[in-house]
Amino acid sequence: MRGFPHTVYHRAMIILSSTSGSPADISSGPAEDYSYANLTGSSEFDFVGIAPIRSERQVLKTYFSSVAVLEQWELSQNYQELGEALNEMAALEGADEWRIEPSVYHAASYVAAKLREDSVPAPQIFTHGPESVVFNWSDDNNDNLYLTISANEISALISSPERITQRIDYSASQFLNPSHLLPFAHLGRPIILISRSDTDLPELIE
């Protein structure tokens, strides 16, 4: 099995705890009302140098061209839809192309729960057949992260438009160990649910 990836990517995400208000509302309130999670870091960036000398605002403004903004209820709703999709796939019978094995359903549900717990945006989902489910995130640059989940294995795959850039295979024991599960959930760049361009950031964080 390959070692842990040497390249990891930055991703910022703001999660709003309020249950009302549109994304536009966030610009009207003080930045202190929001918490953000730096989901991933990159060795390609000067990750170490960020924290000691710059405020969170500066980090956001300087290093992230877009920030995924989503509310808790939206995240919950997305994962609820994901769960319903998995339920439906597990309930299918015969040669239906969307059918998945019960063992795959349980594994995928477990991973989805861990991702939700860690506030990772909900993935898109597809299959190759009954023996696996694929969770997929893509960004505006056509970079993709795929998690292929079968009953006892998980493969993480990062793809740029030019090539496959990284693949990591996990065995069953690693898959069941949360300390191994969480890092690869943060690989790549999760799909941007609501994004703001760099020019919008001052309005958001200043």
């Binding site: 190759h128 056509n142 795929y146 079968s150 793809s159 030019e162 090539r163 496959i164 990284q166 693949r167």
Partner: protein
Amino acid sequence: MGCGRIPDGDSLFRPVIHPVSFHKKTFAFWKFIYLRPGSDDSLRGSLLWGRFVPTIKHVHKRGCEMARQRNEKERAQGTFKEKNRSVYCGAYELKADAVRALVSAVNSDKVSSADVIHLIEDGEIAHTELRIFLKPGPHVEGTKTEIVASLWNSFSGPLAHRCDCDSDINPHPSGDLPLPPAGEYSDERSHLYLLWCLIRFQICYWFWRIFGQNTSEHS
């Protein structure tokens, strides 16, 4: 009749049919590429060899015919529903060497062979079969994802099209075809070479009509 090995630089086309290549109302590349399991543990897919669809007009003609045949088949089976009728939306192109490169692609040490074989099927002279053999071992499902992602990265297009028989559909799903990672399709053949391709196609097609109709497979 044999037209030889499919050269590395030859174009292969994959028609897009709505709704089978779509998820809900969005084009889904993983449904578009869909690799079916073969009886010999291989993964298989279908493409059209550019030698037998020498121009984009030929590609679209075959695509419209494929959608029509799917609808006819469903009518014959009594499963046809107008709202779910098959609609040809266009095609994407990739080169034969992109398929063969799967064997040596990054992290693809789990692919033992990958090739495209000219295999006439159901009277479709351009039909070409994609055959991928995986090495036995763990993480086969992850390898399938890698193959699908690698193939999608190699497609260019889209060559969007609306068949005459689908003029009543508005909006037409061909408008939803995304630009693939490899960018737009560009036919870089010279006029002279294109003329040669047309002549070669006509000769091959004529030979096949006269001598090869009963032969289901050649390469």
